[in-house]
């Protein structure tokens, strides 16, 4: 094993806090970016939900943000779709992909493997700033005359490919979107390489792969999935932009007519775009959820005071199986797309199979609680919340994995509820678990536990009020991505939509408790000890926050696995004492 890549402590504000190569600073930068993006994404969802429930209501500030898109604060149908597109884009990429992986991973992974930094610190800095550039491009779409794109986060061609001829929201906003995602892909590829090499090469003495903390396993497996999936999305985005700006026809077939004008394209395939997008898009939901698996598996033993049942192996091999199978199930997004109906069966079977490792992981978490000594601190509550939401979301998968039932439920709010549970809110809850857990290490101060619990109760109940209603109303065939409820069968759902809107606003309001807690605790919270949770892994074996080189020059030797818990007793991974939990 190599020594960590050494670089001198930075001098000056810019090198220390802005263009920093320190993985800890980069981790905090990613986390902060995600936090900002999360509040932007959430604000977009409020505006959408208010518009759905009370279409004539003048939404404060919205008319100022976009005089064209929302004159007087009442949004146009196209602006609704633009907000929806940007909500999905910002949340899926800049929050759910960035926070649990790049945010916590950057900060914690090198420390958890006993390294002084990532293997390639400069690439790491580049990852963040390229991501940041991507985020700026995404935000810039709000401030150009044509506004953000409206083709959804999936950007199906040819709507996304033919340009302004397809209507508003298809001008430069869609180009900027393409660049934004391309930047994000490049950053993710660089980040993934860093995570993989750091895990393989920079582990400290005695830290065999079998002794890796489970969060490191989550990030490591995730990095592989990321590497392979973003490598496909990047060229897809570039081909889309070429179709738009370069006159190519990768995704545009011949014979298209807009405004009675035949378009000068021929030979492209819209289904090719769908295949390429979903070849990335389905692994993407696992890219989002695998770090969550890792974080929850890492946090739980600390608070249940015993190892997970099955040790590191069962849950880790489940994650590897999920990551591998995630590449052969993408077609289940395309059952009604015009793809061969025989292919539907080909994709349906692995989709049912991928539930096996997912169920194994859930059973491990649930049955690990058996006979435990649970400490109900906020990180654990969020972990339990994650399990509950993931079960609920996963159950919906059974309906959507089968082509026949999917042919009824496809494109309904059932799907929207399902994926918000499975990879949206589950990942957010795991991120919150990680945030409350690692905040003392990252900032050297404890968060307020009472506010943390209050935040959890309101969020947990709020999430169910919004998304179980959303999923169940989908049983009526309620169509997603509609900016107004005008169909005969949608009108009776208005009371349910209003209930969801009120619940979503309250759920959103509860997030300000979290924000307040973060800001207050950052400056006024009680000083955090090195190991406030009686945990065992290397990040708790150094000061809070850790010094620049993470361990103050100490050479660590690891003797144990990460789950040496036995009730109130626990052993640091570096402790030379004999194992108490046999991990």
């Amino acid at each position: 094993m190599h020594a960590a890549a050494h670089h001198a402590p930075p001098q000056g504000f810019i090198r220390k806090y802005v263009f920093s190569v320190d993985h800890k600073v980069i981790g905090i930068q990613y986390t902060t970016l995600s936090l900002v993006a999360a509040f932007v994404g959430m604000a977009l969802s409020w505006a959408m939900r208010i518009h759905l429930a009370w279409p004539d209501y003048h939404i404060p500030l919205l008319g100022w943000v976009s005089p064209n898109g929302a004159p007087g604060g009442v949004m146009t149908p196209e602006y609704y779709l633009s907000l929806m597109t940007m909500h999905g884009t910002i949340m899926a990429f800049f929050v759910l992909t960035a926070a649990p992986f790049a945010g916590f991973g950057n900060f914690m992974l090198p420390i958890q493997v006993g390294a002084a930094d990532m293997a390639f610190p400069r690439l790491n800095m580049a990852s963040f700033w390229v991501t940041f550039t991507g985020f700026l491009f995404a935000c810039a779409t709000f401030f150009i005359p044509d506004g953000p794109p409206l083709s959804g986060w999936t950007a199906y061609a040819p709507l996304s490919a033919v340009g302004s001829v397809a209507g508003p929201g298809q001008g430069w906003g869609q180009n900027l979107w393409g660049f934004s995602i391309a930047f994000f892909c490049i950053a993710s590829l660089l980040g993934s390489l860093n995570f993989i090499v750091t895990t393989l090469d920079l582990r400290t003495k005695g830290l065999k792969m079998s002794r890796l903390p489970l969060s490191t396993w989550g990030w490591f497996i995730d990095a592989w999935v990321s590497l392979l999936a973003f490598a496909v999305l990047l060229p897809t985005c570039l081909l889309l932009v070429l179709d738009r700006l370069g006159g190519t026809s990768f995704f545009i077939p011949g014979g298209l007519v807009f405004n009675d004008q035949l378009q000068p394209h021929s030979g492209g395939s819209p289904l090719l775009f769908q295949h390429l997008f979903w070849f990335f898009g389905h692994p993407e939901v696992y890219i989002i959820i695998l770090p969550a698996f890792g974080i929850v598996s890492h946090i739980m033993p600390t608070f249940i005071r015993k190892p997970l049942v099955g040790g590191w192996k069962v849950v880790t091999f489940s994650e590897i199986a999920v990551g591998t199978l995630s590449f052969v199930v993408w077609g289940h997004h395309m059952f009604v797309s015009g793809m061969s109906p025989y292919m539907a069966m080909v994709f349906s079977v692995p989709t049912l199979f991928i539930t096996i490792p997912s169920i194994i992981a859930v059973l491990v978490w649930v049955f690990s609680l058996y006979g435990a000594n649970i400490r109900f601190d906020t990180p654990l509550l969020y972990s339990l919340g994650f399990i509950s939401l993931f079960i609920t979301g996963g159950i919906g998968g059974f309906f959507l994995a089968q082509p026949s039932t999917d042919s009824y439920l496809h494109a309904t709010s059932f799907v929207v509820g399902h994926f918000h549970f499975t990879m949206g809110l589950s990942a957010i809850f795991a991120t919150f678990a990680g945030f409350y857990y690692w905040f003392p290490k990252m900032f050297g101060r404890m968060m307020n536990e009472k506010l943390g619990k209050l935040h959890f109760w309101l969020s947990f109940v709020g999430v169910y009020c919004v998304f179980i209603t959303m999923q169940l109303t989908g049983m009526t065939g309620a169509v997603r991505r509609y900016s107004a409820l005008v169909d005969d069968f949608m009108v009776p759902l208005i009371p349910a939509y209003r209930f969801m809107t009120v619940a979503a606003l309250l759920l959103g309001a509860a997030q300000f408790i979290f924000l307040y807690n973060v800001i207050w605790s950052r400056f006024k919270g009680p000083k955090a000890p090195d190991n406030p949770w009686d945990a065992t892994t290397l990040e708790w074996d150094t000061t809070s926050p850790p010094p620049f080189d993470n361990f103050g020059g100490r050479q660590l030797i690891v003797h144990h696995g990460p789950m040496e818990y036995d009730g109130d007793e626990s052993l640091m991974q570096t402790s030379p004492k004999p194992s108490i939990a046999g991990t």
Binding site: L271, S407, H410, T476
Partner: protein, 266 residues
């Protein structure tokens, strides 16, 4: 205390969800197609299996959170360890696949692996931002050829038909609504002139995308008369939410009369 509150919330959520499903608070509309009951049956079977798993998962999670809070002496693992959990996961999914794939109603194959009835009534459907147009072949039973460059919505030539030179196109009947006879096998060919759209009639249990550049066939038989909404479920631009048409399922006599009236209006 927190564990007990958590358990109570989880159980309440589970009960509320189960109630909404069992009481059909939000449920599928009446089914009016020959193949539809197979899909409904598959969905109900899935709901039963998935619902039981949902309840079991949440209740066990709640029970453990309720029971195992606080310091309780030496922690212990579940008897048998992870081996039984892995077996249980395989058993759950195995039972699910068996129930749904083997003894289930095989709804997908019954609809999509079968060729349309040779005596089907063939209606050609074109979608464009943000309307559907339907075309009947007329007395000659043959559709005219499509010429996208001739599409002229202002001139009412929605399909791009060359009625001056194409004899087959002359008697094509183009409508903005679709009517079909009840109990008559129907074949639709779906094509789009601009972007992706979808043909979704909930009561028929039919949802199929239009993909530009492709002609996608779909077939069904309606079993009840009535008027039903066709809605677009594939995001197609600003008017997506308002893109719809109506499907009228008529008696044969009413259908014949309707078609005659449409032909006269061409």
């Amino acid at each position: 205390m927190a564990g007990k509150i958590f358990a109570v919330i989880v159980v309440l959520v589970t009960i509320a969800t189960a109630y909404c499903v069992i009481a059909h608070v939000w449920w599928m509309p009446v089914d009016i197609s020959v193949h539809g009951p197979r899909i409904d049956k598959q969905l109900e079977e899935t709901m039963l299996v998935a619902g039981l798993l949902f309840i079991a998962g949440q209740v066990v999670l709640a029970a453990f959170a309720f029971l195992y809070g606080g310091a309780r002496g030496k922690p212990k693992q579940i008897p048998g360890g992870a081996k039984y959990l892995v077996i249980l996961a395989f058993a759950i999914v195995g039972a699910e696949i068996l129930a749904l794939s083997l003894v289930g109603s095989k709804a997908w194959g019954a609809v999509y692996f079968e060729a349309p009835d040779p005596n089907s009534l063939h209606v050609d459907v074109q979608a464009g931002q943000f309307a559907y147009y339907f075309r009947y072949p007329g007395p000659d039973g043959t559709f005219g050829t499509l010429h996208p460059e001739l599409i002229n919505e202002g001139g009412q030539n929605f399909f791009g038909l060359d009625t001056d030179h194409d004899a087959d196109a002359k008697d094509d009947i183009v409508t903005a609504e679709i009517a079909i006879p009840v109990n008559q096998p129907i074949l639709l060919t779906l094509h789009s002139k601009d972007v992706g759209h979808s043909f979704d009639v909930r009561e028929l249990r039919v949802q199929q995308d239009f993909v530009p550049g492709m002609i996608i066939p779909i077939h069904f038989t309606a079993t009840q008369t009535g008027r039903f909404e066709i809605v677009c479920t594939q995001l197609c631009g600003l008017g997506h939410y308002n893109m719809k048409a109506y499907l009228s399922v008529l008696s044969q006599a009413d259908y014949d009369e309707w078609l005659k009236k449409q032909a006269a209006m061409q």
